[in-house]
Symmetry: C2
Subunit: 720 residues, 2 copies
């Protein structure tokens, strides 16, 4: 359920199960599939969903990694508990642990400032810029030039678009088949309004993560603030609540089994159009290798944590993240195996190519040839995957990466802004500065050294032609773990980048000063950066090749599916999408059936009193007494907690509103079931389900447990 | 699924779910509950089930820890794969691993001798001997005398009953409310006939152990051999197949959802009539303490196994057993918590006592007083539970226990047989000799020492008044782990009991010779035995107290339940029982439903190719091709593998035949679901289910995969 970390994608299929509707649709695509939307039960005119400034789209926002929605004219925002977690963390102390206790502001004055990096992004405009981006691409342009031309065009579009308080980004669809410029208002003053205690908001914790049946009350409330004149502004006492153009209406009756439901949000990334060879490589190499590395990393941290409790605290988030990934990777492998994914993809590719060949003509045969080239390029990239991985591991070492980053920044700063590397432009400096400033919060020199030794121990086994000369020069022939350890120990002894004041001084320094430094890590970084740049050029060349070949593959795919009267939606890319389907249970495996709803009684059943199954006593008593205050489902005869729907979501959709057939709020998406983990690669209509917290459970917890009637009133929900 | 280890008990409840039928019934009780049997679907006359020499009871046998049945006139026996496992192990070598490959004898000549300790026990007579056992108990007899009187009466009954080739035992029911003398023919030549490969017979392994949905083909075939004149005899080439009086008829159509099914077998032990205080102590102390000890023990073995692969081999069974227990204990704790077992038991006791008091009269009030005494005695015993546990841990140390056993045996041998301690009589010497001879197969001196140190490190923290003077004297004040380790190291250095030849020489020696020995372990044992004897007398005194008080509790329980028109069955005690119910799925928790059958498709779904999910390729192909050869269920449209029934079974029932309404074989019980693990303590009609392998899956594997048509023919099953 971690935002961005969650790489779950869920599939949708028809109520009639006559045909399945997989898809994360761009709002503009919806009129084209109006028939399917109606068949599944949508009562709104699909055309209204294409207007980002109308109801309901105008109420839906991004938190950057999560989705949320406005639910009052005073800028009240509802999202997942795990999406508002940062605000709870920021305001918690051991003496006053808001994560544990939960929090409720009864007045605006009681609301707490969120962490400074919290944002609410209100999408105001989406514009196709494919022509602008590709205008200067000549037919025979070489791959690196192609990459640079595209990159420059994107930067120019962003620069022309961004004004104070707004953020613009060019989003790539179908690997470069089309591009969109998206303009979002960036609200920077985001405050914590309400969150239930962790024992509700994170009930089931990591054990239930990605699992059904689920009983998590994964919701919380924030508020967007702007300056008095309605503009984006950083936190200030004088700021006032933002007045959104649209606000979701709450349907306190929720939805029942079989009813229409849709989720609108910002899914992060899927791999639905990857080739069979890529799936195979993920199964055979990527996931198994990452699993080993993550386990080894956890071992290193655990070992150090035994003698140094400080390590346990500093790496708690890292450990949680690694464990989350490990569980995810296990799910990916299991799902891809069960789906026989490689064979499925191979068949699909064979069918598509057979169709192209059967149609014939220069155009189609050129597509076939380009697909063959794509396949051989992908095979070629695999030759250096070990090296790419090892350098990536190295870049996760804090002291090393801060050194490289400081050197890189000093080089880029010398250039005009438009010529700077993406990620090192003026607009990026605030983020770089903040990352460098906060490094110490997650850094232990001993652990960091051991992680560097670990990465280098892998690196030294690479074939000679793949090694980085400057790194080899620094290693001075060290090949054994002991020799590598000694080199790294000396490196850390000679560097003061671990000291925050020192590090921030270097952030301000120019290239000359850095070059003259005798800090051992800066010296190593200075020697390495030119060679890393060369490797980056190689990567840019690859990206340039892919920017030509992937759109060609998609061109074929779209034509082929078009011939079968099947629409094509783009892979998720953090842009706004709509997915629709119905409330529906699932038969996850032989002999097992899951109901579409969990109930309050299930909380009592799971409750052990021990975290993460430690529901508040008041809640357990209320459930035992069936004190549901009118929020229970009449059809079910009890209070629903979470529900399943056959929607197609993935990480980034966390916090997305679930809307009923009339576009009213009936829940919040927060996870997918275990069987959907591999859905990022391959849609499975029989198994993939999204998990939502039911609006009835949200309202009941707010009213009965936390007495947040002020918010219910603000949202226009009658209190029973 | 380990025999005897499995402490699962399953509950039965009515199809109409109007009322539940919990119970492991003695055959003689069945006519009393004939109405219930018929209501659930039994078509046979219940009276026929009381005759042990008639069909079907005459076909059902004990393997000592497992149950089995005769399925051909030539002594062919069917049981679980895990019950025949010893025979596979005994005949396997690294070069010819029958466990892995499976085994099929196509002729009698090809059948393999089972391990020498394998037995088939054919129950020939059950006789109530309560009057004989209790005849000499005077009213005011003190507890130790009560114990000894009962013990002597039991030994006398056994002695009078046992003849060559027969085994007799007195079974205690309801803690001493009644006693039965059971006479069994002891068949000693048991041969391996057929077992599927482990990838079928143990498919799912420890991961699926105690779990549903299950896809295990847990069955195998043995054959009972006797001398030419039909008598019990040890293995000989000249022996001939045993001709049982009755043989189960196979119903190759199996049973379907809702249909009647019953299981006949030898359940080992349940605690259904334990007091609330005992349940509470198990939750608060017994299980948590055992979990810690088992984990520590596993750590000791694992640590030694890292440097010594021999340890891993020798302790493989121990490790499997400990892990099995650990999983079981987790299930016990979870189930007892979910059932709120202490509160349930407390309410039951309060109701029963209120009923007794409301009826009044000296008799009833005396029962109330005795129940109070029982409760206070149990509380009193808890005072020394740590010591009892520590000495028990010590007795699991191989070198120590062989020393104590040799000394004990030498003392007991000096007495007339009837005066010897139970377990040290002439009839027990073969077993003691075999245990001593085989000690080396599961013994590593370093691990053994560390286990002794572990037990002693606990022991030295006991309060002074609970310690054993002779043990303290030997410890010479050692209290720290280092000091205790040094003492133990010296002990092992000074003993040659680790050497089998030497140990077996001492087995033949008399008390004088042992006393004169300067073997350090024998010297310690000689010093300890008199004090251990004293502690045993204490234990015998407790047993004597319980032998009076538990029957009084049961007297009250029976009277109370009688007043509610509820029959009472005795706790399991390894004697023959019948449990009945219906094929039925289960809703194990909120949001989840389990079907009553798993199907062949589920094997493909679970199959990863990696043990324990590595079904034979031929099986996977056959299932994909739906080559079910007529064994599939017409109703289900596919081949069923395992099925659930609401029967009341526990460890010892493994291998028990599941019989249909006409007493025909339709499957073999081999496990219970996770929710039934705590059923040993408390019956839960909603959650407890037994797991059976379906006869249709057995027959299909035999025919299609392993081509065991010779056995199908022998069993009178038409091959499709």
């Amino acid at each position: 359920v971690r935002r961005l970390v969650l790489t779950v994608a869920i599939a949708a299929f028809s109520v009639s199960s006559a045909y399945a509707v997989e898809g994360m649709w761009q709002p503009a695509q919806l009129p084209k599939i109006a028939g399917m939307l109606k068949q599944h039960g949508l009562k709104l005119d699909p055309a209204t969903l294409t207007d980002l400034t109308a109801y309901p789209m105008g109420a839906i926002v991004s938190l950057g990694g999560c989705t949320a929605s406005f639910v009052s004219a005073e800028g009240l925002v509802v999202t997942n508990h795990h999406c508002g977690y940062g605000a709870l963390q920021y305001n918690s102390t051991p003496q006053n642990n808001l994560i544990e206790k939960g929090f409720l502001a009864r007045t605006h004055a009681e609301e707490l400032q969120g962490s400074p990096d919290m944002r609410v992004f209100v999408t105001e405009d989406i514009r196709d810029v494919t022509a602008d981006v590709t205008a200067k691409l000549s037919a025979g342009i070489d791959p690196l030039a192609r990459y640079k031309t595209i990159d420059l065009a994107k930067k120019a579009l962003v620069k022309a678009c961004e004004t104070d308080g707004y953020r613009c980004d060019v989003y790539t669809f179908h690997g470069g088949y089309s591009y969109q410029l998206i303009k979002q208002m960036e609200i920077k003053d985001v405050r914590l309004v309400y969150a239930p205690p962790e024992s509700i908001g994170k009930f089931g914790g990591d054990i239930d993560n990605w699992m059904w049946p689920r009983h998590t009350g994964d919701f919380s409330y924030l508020r967007a603030y702007v300056s008095k004149d309605g503009k984006s502004a950083t936190y200030s006492k004088d700021n006032v609540p933002y007045h959104p153009k649209h606000v979701l209406t709450v349907n306190p009756q929720g939805v029942e089994e079989g009813e229409y439901v849709m989720v609108v949000g910002y899914p992060g990334r899927t791999n639905r159009y990857r080739l069979a060879d890529e799936v195979k490589s993920s199964i055979d190499w990527v996931y198994p290798t990452q699993i080993k590395i993550y386990q080894d990393t956890l071992d290193i941290i655990a070992k150090n944590g035994k003698t140094n409790p400080d390590v346990t605290v500093k790496y708690a988030n890292t450990v949680a993240g690694l464990n989350n990934y490990l569980k995810n990777f296990g799910g990916q492998l299991e799902g891809l195996r069960r789906a026989d994914a490689v064979a499925v993809k191979q068949r699909q590719e064979a069918d598509m190519e057979a169709w192209l060949k059967s149609r014939g003509g220069t155009g189609n045969l050129a597509l076939v040839a380009d697909i063959a080239t794509l396949r051989s390029k992908l095979a070629q990239y695999q030759a250096t995957r070990e090296r790419d991985l090892d350098l990536n591991l190295l870049s996760r070492v804090s002291l090393y990466s801060s050194g490289v980053r400081l050197v890189r920044l000093s080089h880029e700063r010398a250039k005009p802004d438009m010529e700077r590397e993406t990620g090192y432009q003026q607009r990026d400096e605030v983020r770089i500065e903040s990352a460098l400033a906060q490094m110490g919060r997650r850094y232990d020199p001993k652990v960091d050294q051991q992680l560097m030794v670990y990465a280098l121990n892998r690196y030294v086994t690479l074939p000679a032609e793949q090694r980085v000369p400057a790194l080899d020069a620094w290693l001075e022939g060290a090949r054994t773990p002991a020799a590598v350890s000694a080199k790294v120990a000396a490196l850390y002894a000679g560097s003061k980048l671990g000291d925050t004041t020192n590090r921030m001084r270097w952030f301000k320094a120019d290239a000359k000063a850095i070059e003259a430094s005798n800090d051992s890590m800066l010296k190593l970084a200075a020697a390495l950066v030119p060679e890393l740049k060369k490797l980056e050029d190689e990567q840019d060349t690859r990206d340039g090749e892919m920017a030509r070949l992937r759109p060609r593959y998609m061109e074929a795919m779209i034509a082929w599916r078009d011939s079968l009267h099947l629409p094509v939606y783009p892979d998720a890319n953090s842009s706004l999408r709509v997915t629709f389907g119905n409330v529906q249970g699932v038969a996850p495996r032989d002999g097992v059936t899951y109901a579409p709803f969990t109930t309050a009684e299930g909380i009592v059943e799971k409750n052990t009193g021990v975290e993460p199954f430690n529901a508040p006593e008041a809640e357990i008593e209320a459930i035992r007494a069936k004190a549901f205050d009118g929020y229970a489902s009449k059809k079910q005869g009890t209070l629903p907690v979470d529900f399943l729907a056959d929607l197609d979501i993935t990480g980034g959709n966390s916090g997305s509103p679930s809307l009923d057939s009339q576009g009213r709020l009936v829940g919040l998406a927060f996870d997918g079931n275990w069987e959907s983990v591999s859905g990022d690669w391959l849609f499975n209509p029989k198994l993939n389900r999204s998990i939502q917290v039911d609006v009835r459970y949200m309202l009941w917890v707010m009213h009965h447990i936390d007495h947040a009637d002020n918010l219910l009133k603000e949202m226009g929900v009658p209190t029973n």
